[in-house]
């Protein structure tokens, strides 16, 4: 059996809040194989975002084990984690998180800076990625001159530009209208069909419906984990 892309073993994240210990993620174990399209669902406070942050190497578990591509992240240094975030994971956020007053191309090129790619190569890769996402005519636009859907496409281009193994999207359609949301989810499906593992955190059932597998969080535990029939998007 091949190494799973991601394996969580009894993962716990505990916070101290007003003298009380809150276990946002309380002993979660799960495996995600290459090529999966997973929707992580749950009400707010269910621990789904905390879980997502841990598998994205943005947050460290209080206890338990997390293996990414077979590597135990607990053994990694800060720079190693930065390299994993840079090369193996692409993040997509609810609020897009693009740099203001910075062109689409330069926004997409940011991860390449940290990958040590030279200036001209950065531009070429970022431009190609934007063209692929249908933004070839918006290369020099700053975020303020782009619609929400276009901004999220720029953000997806940025997530993809280093050629990651998986895409982590936290409420990627939370700030978009339903039509644009369908487009974005369609893009995720296309990417998934091309072999990229996609993990989407959402609280909306109709967004989760685009995924192949649905994992439901409640009070820090997984209460449901099932393969589901995939709804087709109307993306690119």
């Amino acid at each position: 059996m091949a190494t799973p892309l991601l394996e969580a073993r009894a993962l716990v994240k505990a916070f101290e809040l007003g003298g009380e210990v809150v276990r946002a993620v309380d002993g979660v174990s799960m495996r995600i194989e290459r090529g999966e399209f997973v929707a992580i669902m749950g009400a707010s406070g269910s621990g789904k975002s905390t879980f997502m942050n841990m598998i994205g190497c943005l947050d460290t578990p209080t206890s338990g084990q997390l293996l990414i591509d077979g590597i135990d992240v607990a053994t990694l240094t800060g720079d190693d984690l930065a390299a994993i975030r840079n090369r193996k994971i692409g993040f997509v956020f609810q609020q897009f998180n693009l740099l203001a007053r910075t062109s689409a191309v330069d926004n997409v090129a940011v991860p390449l800076i940290y990958a040590g790619v030279g200036t001209s190569e950065r531009r070429a890769l970022a431009t190609a990625q934007l063209i692929e996402l249908g933004l070839g005519d918006r290369l020099q636009n700053s975020p303020a001159k782009l619609s929400g859907g276009q901004q999220q496409r720029v953000a997806i281009a940025r997530a993809l530009v280093t050629g990651p193994l998986m895409l982590l999207a936290d409420e990627p359609t939370g700030a978009l209208d339903s039509k644009t949301s369908q487009d974005i989810m369609g893009i995720f499906q296309d990417l998934n069909e091309r072999g990229i593992t996609v993990i989407v955190v959402t609280h909306e059932a109709d967004i989760a419906a685009y995924a192949k597998r649905r994992v439901l969080f409640s009070d820090g535990h997984i209460v449901e984990d099932a393969m589901v029939a995939q709804r087709r998007g109307e993306g690119s």
């Binding site: 943005l58 947050d59 740099l99 991860p111 990958a115 030279g118 200036t119």
Partner: protein, 415 residues
């Protein structure tokens, strides 16, 4: 090679990021830069003014005469031992020194007093010096018109006078005073020459004086009853070029000690100062002056640096979310730290360059309007820019390190 070019490229990127960030908060950046600019300007000007003062002092001293010793009939103030004994210096001492000390070019024995010189309708209060022709040689001064006091004038105690340009102008305006008669203590003197101008030294007008023959001063002007018939108030001795003033001073002390029969342990009844000593003392004084100036100016640079630190802390706080994002996209802690260090350094270097330009402008104004050279050297220019960058790195390091230590997820969540 690839690693190096990648490093250079990432610095280039950091500089671009810094410029974007600084442009975003243009007013704030400008005000912060202003602090550094004023600090750098103050330090550069302090260095330049100090250097200028040194040059001015050296010029003032060489205006007195280049290789010269001055003997005063004032008991030496030796290490706090004070004495009420009167000093002694006579014309015979002067002649003995001229004969016995190696390398003497000329001597200028002097009697000094403050007098009022009168012509019809005008008068001038000035310092009157009784001199011999040696004065012209020792102090390296010539007349711009007429002639200097001659040996014959001294021998005959002639009632002749050579005026300094300031006095000449006060009494006669633009009119040529040669051959005119002036009165001093009711005694008529004939003006035989006007000295060339020697400017001013230490804020004192070197041209405000009137010279008469030494013998005339002794017989007719000097009112001090304390003076013996042979006494002098000062003796200037000019030495040949290349003569060691230290050695000459030693010889002079030996001659004068012998003549005055100074016993071992007794205080010398005379004081000798050389131009070399003036130079050393004044360079010590101007050195201290320059250090004090630079120290004061450094305080403003320190304040500027604190301003940098303050604004960088604000910038880090404001951009916490951006820091989190960059970390999510793969920035290492060192990348974040470098980004903010570069931003602080760029901010300071802009301030430093502006400060340098402002200092150069003010120095040019000094030179143009105050006739005071405040030279800004190439080393100071380059040094100030580098120093500004260092200020940025020093004061920017705490905010930068703070930024790099943020937790990625907390930074990303912040508003």
């Amino acid at each position: 090679m690839r690693a190096l070019s990648a490093t250079l490229a990432s610095w280039g990127v950091n500089i671009r990021i810094a410029l974007i960030a600084l442009r975003t908060n243009l007013l704030r950046s400008s005000l912060t830069t202003l602090g550094v600019m004023i600090g750098v300007m103050a330090v550069i000007l302090a260095v330049a003014v100090g250097a200028g003062a040194k040059v001015t002092v050296e010029q003032s001293i060489s205006a007195l005469g280049s290789n010269m010793a001055i003997v005063f009939p004032v008991p030496e103030n030796d290490g706090g031992r004070r004495t009420n004994e009167r000093g002694r210096l006579t014309e015979r001492d002067a002649r003995a020194l001229e004969r016995q000390v190696y390398g003497v070019r000329a001597i200028s024995p002097q009697l000094r007093s403050t007098v009022q010189i009168v012509v019809t309708g005008r008068n001038a209060t000035t310092s009157n010096i009784g001199v011999t022709p040696g004065y012209s040689i020792v102090t390296n001064i010539l007349t711009q018109s007429g002639r200097f006091i001659s040996d014959a004038d001294v021998r005959t105690a002639a009632r002749v006078m050579v005026l300094g340009p300031t006095v000449a102008k006060k009494l006669f305006g633009e009119f040529d005073p040669i051959g005119e008669t002036v009165r001093l203590n009711q005694i008529p003197f004939t003006v035989i020459g006007v000295l060339e101008s020697k400017g001013s030294s230490f804020g004192q007008d070197n041209d405000d004086l009137a010279l008469v023959p030494l013998s005339t001063a002794r017989a007719r002007i000097s009112t001090s009853t304390a003076l013996g018939p042979d006494d002098l108030q000062a003796l200037f001795i000019g030495f040949e070029d290349g003569v060691s003033l230290t050695a000459a001073k030693r010889e002079m002390i030996a001659v004068l000690k012998d003549r005055n029969r100074v016993q071992p342990g007794e205080i010398n009844p005379f004081t000798i100062r050389t131009t070399e000593e003036f130079m050393q003392e004044s360079s010590r004084v101007t050195g201290v002056f320059q250090m004090v100036l630079v120290a004061i100016a450094s305080i403003s640079l320190l304040v500027g640096g604190i301003g940098i630190m303050n604004i960088m802390l604000v910038s880090v706080t404001e951009r916490t979310r951006e820091i989190g994002l960059r970390m999510a996209l793969g920035a290492r802690r060192s990348d974040i730290r470098n980004q903010f260090l570069v931003e602080a350094a760029v901010l300071c270097m802009i301030g430093g360059a502006m400060g340098l330009a402002a200092a150069a402008g003010i120095a040019a104004l000094f030179t143009a309007y105050a006739d005071f050279a405040a030279p800004i050297g190439f080393g100071v220019s380059v040094g100030s820019i580098i120093f500004s960058a260092v200020i940025g790195l020093v004061f920017g390091s705490y905010p930068a390190i703070r930024a790099s230590r943020l937790s990625p997820i907390e930074a990303l969540r912040s508003e």
